[in-house]
């Protein structure tokens, strides 16, 4: 069970310092100052950037404003990834604060999804939870929950209420004692510089022989390149929430404590910086 409360709190309250700069091509009435913000790792961009929008709307004419979208060093940022994942994947070892460029026109329809309202974010968030629970408990727990419980999960995330969220999320982190863990671990392994978006496969937390699987076991199975063989230099960093857990960390524990609010274990594998 997830009762390493400190770990949970640290995971929840993780922040990334960000500097939002308006795209210079945008038509402004006067110069727009950059906007600084500490973004929560576990949330989503459209959820926390209202102030950014207001700030930049002040210097723009109403008729020039379309849907806001973000981009980092040329890469449009997918809003449906958690912010922490975006940062770890794109700008993990760069200079802080993270500089994001704000655009108001030329929305890249090919790369990004539209997000007209918060209900879209909520739908995406809930579907991730359901997907995760399908893997963990064959959807039993999430289906036993009532609609207000789902709402509580979403509201907890939206309003940044740790206790409110975890009151419900505990149930999703439980498993029958005889099992030893979830049915399958919900995880996604993101690779930088890859055509494939992410790796997501079925993986049990306990081996058929009864051994608990670790992070290393998972990587060995799913992304063996990430592992460093003896004698070699480390080529990849395996980041979860901006830290590198030891490879012998039990996968079940990781899923319980280091999952995002959407109950997925988002793992970023990035090449080690050469400098």
């Amino acid at each position: 069970m997830a009762d390493d409360k400190d770990v949970l709190r640290d995971v929840w309250f993780g922040r990334i310092p960000t500097c939002f700069t308006l795209n210079p091509d945008e038509i402004t009435e006067r110069e727009a100052e950059p906007y600084y913000l500490l973004l929560p790792r576990v949330s989503y961009l459209p959820l926390v950037t209202d102030k950014v929008k207001k700030h930049f709307h002040k210097v723009m004419k109403a008729e020039d404003v379309e849907e806001m979208w973000f981009e980092y060093e040329g890469t449009p940022l997918k809003w449906h990834y958690p912010i922490g994942v975006l940062f770890d994947l794109h700008a993990s070892n760069t200079v802080l604060p993270w500089s994001i460029t704000v655009h108001f026109k030329s929305f890249p329809d090919r790369d990004l999804l539209h997000c007209p309202s918060n209900s879209i974010i909520e739908a995406h968030f809930m579907s991730s939870i359901k997907e995760a629970d399908a893997l963990k408990h064959k959807s039993q727990v999430v289906n036993d929950m009532q609609k207000k419980d789902h709402k509580q999960l979403w509201m907890g995330l939206q309003n940044d209420k740790f206790d409110q969220f975890w009151a419900m999320n505990r149930k999703l982190m439980e498993y029958p004692t005889e099992e030893g863990g979830f049915r399958y671990i919900p995880f996604r392994i993101y690779q930088a510089l890859s055509e494939r978006l992410f790796i997501q496969k079925l993986f049990r937390p306990v081996s058929p022989e009864g051994n608990t699987h670790t992070l290393g076991d998972l990587l060995k199975e799913m992304y063996p390149d990430a592992l460093t063989n003896d004698g070699e230099q480390k080529r990849y960093q395996v980041l979860i929430h901006g830290i590198e857990p030891l490879l012998e960390t039990p996968l079940q524990w990781l899923s319980e404590h280091l999952s995002h609010p959407d109950n997925f274990l988002h793992i970023c594998a990035i090449p080690v910086p050469t400098d």
Partner: protein, 598 residues
């Protein structure tokens, strides 16, 4: 847990680097940004003011256009903000309104729910009470049905019993009728037998008498002038009687004409010839042993009870000495007349005369003493011959109890008085009622003289009837119901007893009350209490309701003797023997007492 510790450390490190270093800076930066924005707004406003003032001073300033523009923009923004504000206010008002309305609705619904619940409760209570009532009603209905059923069964049973009883009744009535008809037939047979016997008898006597007469006519016989006709008890003395009719007739004619007994004798003799009368002993020859009635000399006031004896089963109503004082006849409610012989101070039972169907009310001997007339409660009077105790005649015709019957002085007729308020005159030859007189009141007692019949009635009157004229000659009213009448030996005085407990002597010539007798304890016991003269008319005797016999002296009018120790119940009748020696009294309690002064 190495890895766990590692994870914790890594997280803390990350936070230190990524968050804590920038947190304060970002916060302060944002504050500065806000401040600068505010400054910008303020500056703009001040600038517009300045432009306004300047415009006021300088007209047509080049900057005015720009400031105007700015002003306009500001104004527009303000207006827009105002509009937004008002719109928000309005919306807020509307929302508040809707909230209030919804609240009201909710309250209303709550109230409705409450009333509905209250009503439902009420209905439930009603339902339960109605169910209770229904159950009770069903129970009572069941009980009623059961009771009804039992009643029906009882009724059926009763119906069956009733029809059975009806059947029984019918059968019994039939049997009864059959028995009655058989009994009637038997009675008719018996009557026929009796008649046949009588006929035979009379024929025999007739023949014998004829023969005797024929014999007697052949020889002369001495005649005694002072012969009075006596009743003989045996057959033997017929011969002597033959001759006397002529002599005594002449003799008696020369004597007091008021003594009709010999005339009566003649009548009876002629009756023999004229009719087939069964006369046993014909009162022709005198018996020296019997002293003649009417001229009795030795009247003795009784003082002791010589013989107390049970006379009848039940009440004894009537008592009479025979004219010869030898026999005593008593009649009672046991329907019999019993004859007793007075011998040596005792009464020996001689026989009983039967034939009456109900109690005997009065007894009389005819002047010869050979016939006894008794009136009965069965509406008839009967005549027996004394000698052989045989019933000779039954006189029916009254429609009520016959309370008194007397021979008229010629012994050929009988007068009877009845409860049916009539007096009937009977002819013994034809045995038919010759006359019926309506008296108007029940007749309790009768006495007869040659011309007159006196009757005492319930309506306190004594009526005097003329025999021939059949009408009332006189009426005397007394103070109480007349229970008894008696004549003295020369028929000059009438003794009455009435329910006012007084005995009165009425002089028949003057029709005045000569004497009244009463006594302290004397109470008339019944409507038929009989009193009597002594044979010489100097005493009067009567019995009271307490069982005391009173003897009054006629001359003094006072009680001569009271004999109250022997009777236990009311004395119904008293008779003084013609010889004067004995008095007989009978009581309600079936006893008879023979008194004398010995």
């Amino acid at each position: 847990m190495e890895w766990k510790r590692h994870v914790s450390e890594q997280l803390k490190l990350r936070d230190r680097i990524q968050r804590q270093t920038f947190e304060e800076i970002v916060h302060q930066y944002n504050r500065l940004l806000e401040k600068s924005d505010l400054q910008a707004v303020l500056t703009e406003r001040y600038q517009t003011d300045k432009y306004d003032v300047q415009r006021g001073h300088e007209a047509g300033s080049a900057d005015s256009a720009r400031s105007d523009l700015l002003q306009q923009e500001m104004a527009q923004m303000r207006i827009r903000h105002q509009e937004e504000l008002t719109e928000l206010h309005k919306k807020r008002g509307e929302l508040a309104q809707s909230v209030i309305e919804l609240n009201n609705q909710i309250q209303q619904k709550d109230r409705e729910i409450q009333t509905n619940e209250a009503r439902m409760l009420e209905y439930q209570q009603q339902i339960s009470s109605l169910e209770g009532d229904c159950r009770e009603l069903r129970n009572s209905l069941q009980e009623l049905e059961q009771a009804n059923q039992t009643l029906k069964d009882e009724y059926d049973a009763l119906q069956i019993t009733f029809s059975a009883l009806e059947e029984k009744l019918r059968k019994t009535t039939e049997d009864n009728q059959e028995l009655v008809s058989r009994w009637m037939a038997e009675k008719a047979q018996e009557a026929n037998r009796l008649n046949a016997e009588n006929e035979k008898d009379s024929r025999r006597r007739q023949a014998k008498l004829q023969k005797d007469l024929a014999d007697a006519a052949k020889e002369p016989l001495p005649i005694e002038p002072d012969d009075d006709i006596e009743v003989l008890a045996e057959d033997g003395v017929k011969g002597a009687g033959e001759t006397s009719p002529n002599r005594p007739m002449s003799k008696t004619l020369s004597r007091k004409p008021s003594q009709p007994p010999p005339g009566g004798l003649l009548d009876s003799i002629s009756n023999i010839f004229g009719r087939r009368r069964s006369a046993n002993s014909f009162s022709t020859s005198p018996e020296p042993t019997e002293s003649p009635s009417g001229l009795c000399a030795e009247v003795r006031v009784p003082s002791t009870a010589l013989h107390v004896f049970e006379a009848h089963d039940g009440e004894v109503n009537a008592v009479r000495f025979s004219p010869g004082s030898r026999l005593l006849a008593t009649g009672g409610m046991d329907r019999r007349v019993k004859l007793w012989e007075v011998v040596a101070g005792r009464c020996e039972a001689k026989g009983a005369l039967t034939g009456s169907n109900a109690g005997i009310t009065s007894i009389e001997f005819d002047s010869a003493g050979s016939y006894l007339l008794a009136a009965s409660n069965d509406f008839a009077s009967r005549i027996w011959t004394v000698e052989d105790y045989r019933l000779r005649h039954t006189l029916t015709g009254h429609s009520g109890k016959v309370l008194s019957a007397r021979f008229l002085l010629d012994n050929a007729r009988i007068v009877s008085g009845s409860y049916d308020r009539t007096l009937k005159l009977w002819d013994l030859r034809s045995k038919v009622c010759m006359k019926t007189v309506f008296a108007g009141s029940s007749c309790n007692d009768i006495v007869c003289t040659e011309q007159c019949v006196m009757s005492g009635h319930f309506d306190k009157k004594v009526r005097f009837w003329d025999i021939r004229a059949e009408s009332i000659v006189r009426e005397i009213e007394l103070m109480g119901r007349v229970t008894s009448l008696d004549l003295n030996h020369d028929r000059s005085e009438l003794l009455t007893c009435s329910r006012d407990d007084l005995l009165k002597i009425i002089d028949l010539r003057t029709n005045a009350i000569r004497q009244t007798f009463s006594a302290q304890g004397f109470k008339c016991g019944a409507d038929w209490t009989r009193v009597t003269f002594s044979p010489d008319g100097s005493y009067v005797a009567g019995g009271s309701a307490e069982g005391a016999l009173y003897v009054w002296n006629v001359l003094t009018g006072k009680v001569d003797r009271t004999l109250d120790r022997n009777h236990n119940s009311a004395i119904n009748s008293v008779s003084w023997s013609p010889s004067g020696a004995y008095v007989a009294s009978v009581e309600k309690g079936s006893k008879a007492i023979l008194w004398s002064d010995m």
